[in-house]
Symmetry: C2
Subunit: 768 residues, 2 copies
């Protein structure tokens, strides 16, 4: 646990101690990114202690060979890996030719690292005594620009404190990097070119197999006491590496500094053969603007993100820090600029889960992006899946489905399945439903039905076909059943009639049938096109309808709840609270078979259905299911607490809701699961946002209206958030005294607050 290690602060993540044992964790927490690229907070200078090096480029991946014991038919050929890309941050530093290496210093004092979330910068300062006895003060600041998204900039200052010294800066690019997460210990990059051009350095690299071309580049400036100086650089070019050496004679207490502009250009945005040229243009722009003005731009750009996305909390600085960290990381990971990109579970902070797209995007992230950005952004996320429809059909075909049925992949980079555990890849099919739920949710929130006739309907039909084919009729039950699935609770594998999956399947078919009629009525041209494309006829529709009408849902009369799956009641039911501590977390302490046959739930499963379809059930039903399932839930997925927090809030259990909120919002900062060194849990951060907005704020969209049922945790004075609803910006400020609404713009807006109509007048503070 990191508790008390990260200093509480409203706008910054701060550590004030150098602890080599925590370097890897801090590298995750202090990560920076701009949606297009990002990196772990590795040190610029040489560091010989344990470190997890990572610098990533959105969309650049490698299809690592699948690794299994016994091959099963249908396995994907590869597991997509996000790639550690060439190192552009490196600046080796020598003081009188003694290398600066924090792992080897005689002492390190006043170490401080700060991730300034308000301005989007990472800074570090310390005083170190080198093995040669020279004490230096170091200050380093860097950022990846969200204005020029191929550019990063670093300012690295060294001040000898106890004697004059010659400071040597060796900025470098290094293409000989490897991945931490690699199945076969192969190298993933090939260096094509290393070039020097009047103190600019370039490396052009190519990923093996996928053939992505990436240009990494740099140019540096040297300063003495903050004044630019001209120093002769000597360069050194290796097979995969280029570096320059700049020497600065520095009197005691004088400050030598280097500014390094660097970054990536790739063939996703440029022609392969023009990468060096493109990199040169980025450097031209960077050097002409200069470091300070780039930094100013960065601050302004982040201010404008915060203007819309910020949530304020007063009276609970850790909660404030937590939510801002979540919002910051989400924006570092995905800004909605590029519909080829998506939100990897670790963003740019690590390699686990391959960095690929999961159902997390549809189930957890879309609400955040819908409410805090232009609605085009959410539409881009939907379009990402639309663009993958053909591959989803091929994936289904590989598993024996036909007639244009689609199964979206569990994990993907380019639409192809790239996850290789059979119980997940082949069986965790509920993901297919969240693709449709996201469309429904988007239309409900934005009111933009046009997406459906234009794109969504094709996806809906392909998914409905899948559910129809994936069900079979049980003579025994006289119902349709769905056998052999894994639900959201991955602590069950290959179960029959997972309630959530069956419910979602039925809903997908029903919603598709309803939508087909709507499109038929209102969008004849699109209707004709889609019917032509899909060859759908009334006979097939009738068969779908039959399946939806006769879908089986396991239910316990005794407990009055839907059962997570068939046979759930055969388990030995012991609430989590009665489980001895030594057994937790069960995913570390128990063998897999023991986990599977236990009653313990990894993350919301039946309750995930109650979250998606809250309006299908009464509050009593919710309460009954919550009281049955939550006590059996170990919350060993980062996606678990947020759903429970929202539902606890609905049930008026604010203490419990708050507990879950804290757990979700500070999961990484406090390192609950002792794994933050692998990277941060990016997708669940959107769930944290939902915990406040949908949980405490009680925000819903009902009948094309925003509605709120605001509550506030006891120890908070106030909190506020802003949402963009159909291009109307509403700021909601909640305190124990009541809730105030502020509507931007020029038109009034009717909303519901605690089931009462309220009209918001533009630019007026309205109290509910």
């Amino acid at each position: 646990m990191n508790q008390d290690y990260i200093k509480p602060d409203e706008w910054s993540i701060i550590e004030e101690e150098f602890d080599a044992g925590r370097v890897k964790s801090s590298e995750s927490l202090f990560s920076i990114g701009n949606g297009a690229m990002g990196q772990r907070a590795n040190f610029e200078e040489q560091y010989s202690g344990p470190s997890f090096q990572g610098s990533y480029i959105g969309g650049v991946y490698y299809p690592d060979k699948t690794k299994v014991g016994w091959w099963k038919n249908g396995y994907p050929e590869y597991f997509a890996k996000v790639l550690n890309a060439p190192n552009w941050i490196g600046i080796n530093v020598f003081v009188n030719e003694e290398p600066l290496d924090l792992f080897n210093c005689k002492s390190v004092k006043n170490f401080r690292r700060e991730l300034n979330m308000k301005e989007g910068t990472l800074s570090r300062s310390f005083e170190a005594e080198l093995p040669n006895g020279i004490v230096v003060e170091v200050k380093a600041l860097r950022f990846v620009s969200i204005v020029e998204d191929e550019l990063g900039a670093i300012k690295f200052e060294v001040t000898p404190l106890n004697q004059d010294a010659e400071i040597r800066f060796d900025p470098y690019l290094d293409g000989s990097i490897t991945n931490t997460d690699a199945n076969w210990e192969e190298r993933f990059w090939e260096t094509l070119e290393v070039q020097e051009d009047s103190e600019r350095g370039y490396i052009v690299s190519k990923t093996l197999k996928t053939g992505f071309h990436v240009g990494t580049f740099m140019q540096s400036e040297i300063l003495l006491n903050n004044e630019k100086v001209t120093t002769e650089a000597t360069s050194s070019i290796g097979e995969d590496r280029i570096s320059f050496a700049y020497k600065v004679k520095t009197a005691k207490q004088e400050t030598a500094a280097i500014i390094k502009y660097a970054g990536y250009v790739s063939d996703m945005n440029h022609k392969k053969e023009q990468l060096i040229q493109a990199a040169g243009k980025v450097l031209d722009s960077a050097t002409s603007k200069g470091f300070e003005s780039l930094k100013k731009e960065q601050k302004e750009a982040w201010a404008s993100i915060w203007e819309m996305a910020d949530i304020t909390i007063s009276g609970d600085v850790k909660a404030q820090q937590g939510i801002r960290f979540n919002i910051f990381q989400l924006n570092q990971t995905y800004l909605g600029e590029d519909d080829r990109l998506n939100i990897g579970p670790k963003g740019f902070t690590g390699e686990k889960y391959g960095g690929s797209t999961y159902w997390d995007t549809e189930a957890y992230c879309i609400p955040f992006y819908m409410a805090t950005k232009d609605q085009k952004v959410a539409r881009k996320l939907l379009t990402y899946r639309y663009n993958h429809l053909q591959k989803a059909k091929e994936n289904a075909e590989k598993l024996g489905f036909s007639n244009g049925a689609a199964l979206y992949p569990m994990v993907t980079m380019n639409g192809e399945e790239s996850h290789n555990e059979w119980e997940i890849t082949f069986e965790e099919i509920h993901r297919n439903g969240s693709m449709i739920f996201a469309i429904y949710n988007y239309v409900r929130y934005t009111g933009d039905f046009s997406y459906i006739p234009e794109k969504g309907l094709e996806v809906m039909i392909a998914v409905a076909r899948f559910w129809y084919q994936r069900s079979n009729f049980s003579k025994d039950k006289n119902k349709y059943v769905i056998l052999g699935v894994t639900g959201p609770n991955e602590y069950e594998n290959n179960v029959n009639n997972n309630w959530y999956t069956n419910y979602l399947a039925k809903w997908c078919i029903d919603y598709c049938l309803e939508t087909i009629n709507k499109v038929k009525d209102g969008h004849q041209e699109d209707y004709a096109r889609v019917m032509g494309l899909t060859d759908l006829n009334d006979g097939e529709l009738a068969k779908w309808r039959e399946v939806a009408e006769k879908m089986y849902f396991p239910y316990s009369e005794e407990h009055g709840v839907y059962l997570q799956q068939d046979g759930f009641l055969d388990k030995e039911i012991i609430p989590v609270k009665d489980l001895e501590k030594k057994h937790r977390p069960i995913n570390q302490k128990w063998s897999w078979d023991r986990i599977l046959r236990s009653c313990y739930i990894k993350q919301a499963d039946v309750l995930q259905g109650f979250y998606f379809f809250e309006d299908h059930f009464s509050k009593d039903q919710l309460e009954k299911h919550f009281d049955y399932y939550e006590p059996l839930t170990v919350h060993e997925s980062s996606l678990s607490p947020c759903v429970h927090s929202i539902q606890a809030a609905v049930l008026g259990r604010m203490e419990q809701a708050y507990e879950f909120y804290v757990r979700t919002s500070r999961l990484d900062l406090d390192d609950y699961n002792k794994e933050v060194e692998e990277g941060c849990h990016i997708t669940s951060m959107a769930g944290t946002w939902m915990s406040i907005v949908e949980g405490f704020g009680g925000m819903r969209v009902e009948n094309d209206q925003l509605s709120f049922k605001p509550q506030i945790p006891e120890n908070w004075n106030a909190y506020s958030f802003k949402v963009n609803f159909r291009d109307r910006i509403v700021k909601v400020s909640v305190s124990s005294k009541g809730t105030e609404f502020f509507l931007e713009g020029s038109e009034s807006l009717d909303i519901q607050v605690n089931n009462k109509e309220l009209t918001l007048v533009p630019n007026e503070q309205i109290t509910a």
Copy 2:
């Protein structure tokens, strides 16, 4: 399919054509072994075509790193691999310095390969025209001695037919071998020493990690027209290789020959540092006996095996060839000499399944060895597991069991689990029951109860403890249930209440309770020792009894059958005969999830229980279950047809019984599953033997008596088999006219034939 490729012959496996595309299949089929070592039928001389090189030493294995996508708690660290060991058969042949290589000859005529099962030799002959135009006739014969089990011998003859020629023989040993089945493409052997000692060659090698030391050795003799000649050999020693070159000037039509004595000695039987010395002794003995007399010994030793184990079939040469091939391979694989060895599913014919021990031994192989060998052999097989008891306890502990509960591994070399698919390793726990069934079966057959107090009871208690702990009480069913298992039908994973597993679990507990009382009464000393060792008390016994009494068995009132598992009736039930051919075999044509949710059964599951516990059920019940399950069975395991053959015979359905028999007996010869190139299905060969003895012959042991209900397939004239029952040898000869019994020895024996008592008088042909 190989049909018509292997020539029908009563005593030999013969191929009469050189077909490079079939070389790998034939390498499997023509394998030779002696229980201690064995090898695929690779050519002695250079062969540049596709080949699967394999030479194996019983008990010498390598713990290859486990290969999985996502690590799950409890996975074994390694997957044991049988190791391709240094090549001792190699003799490169040059004719006027042109290498003999069947893949590169201008023509190959009169190719013939014969595995003489009666004598235990492999021979090969052909005429080949070499690229240099010289036509040679080649005859090669080799065997691995079952008398001197560290020794193999080869005679390789070359006759130039169309001109005089110089024949060069280069016999060699090669330690630089690799495995076909290897997870990480690493080398598994390290060469420690290569030594030459007056025309003897030695290589001492060590396996990495496991550190087995193996000495490979050779010595050769040269003959011209079958007369020994002295030729100067030149030797060549490499890092992992030693070879000698012998040149023989040969006139047209004269025959040059080499005899090579070679083989392995290992530190399983000798001191590490004395391997070369031990090898020298083997060579001393071999050369003093000479090739012809070694060959004679081999023939005599096989004759004595056949004397006891042979089954004759008259009127169906393919059936005769099939059963002898099965009996021959079983004896090549395991002769019962060494209780550290066991019967790998591929024997010495391939590497698949790692060459390790599976439950096949207990469920399928023990009856064969009990009936065709001294009863010590079966006792050795039981002792193998007794010796692994501690490791089975550790394995169970790793999975969360306690108090001395044991879970025998799914796959093992040394008692440790070495299989790494969770659905098998963790869940296919019925294997634990077959350990106990084998003890029961051994005592039933041999009458040797002494094994139980001495060794068996400890195993029985540890296994009963496992079943007790692995069950849990279902409030819903008011019964004990066993959740999350994989039954013998591996086309179901992680199911609840697999009937076979539950039944076996209950039986293991009942049998253990009953046996404890017997030991208490009759073997007080052992009783006290075992109770002391296991710390077993009445309280624990009462809890076991409760579980056994209240065990749940899924049952369908509608169909009147036990259900394979909970929820089986939810499946879409379509008999295999109605499945289009394009879907077969489903394990190649369908994705894993589709297989799992289908109703198709890989091998006997419920029916395996009816096989083990035939006497617990009526014939009507058997018929009902057979008629329900067999039509859903795809028999995609080699272990499937035999059980069904026996049961069809019990039901008087001889046509079907015969069909299954042919399928099991010629599975490899006819290459039904197009996979024989990977090796032969050794363990299922014992099932073939059972099909005749227990199926057609209807042999059982009831109340300490042998009983028979002989039947005969319509197209057979007669068949006969012999069994050793409690040191009494009974030969049974069945024809359409009736059955004759012949008892060896000096005491009479009462048996049952078709439910009637019959007294066999020694050395008299008695007709029933």
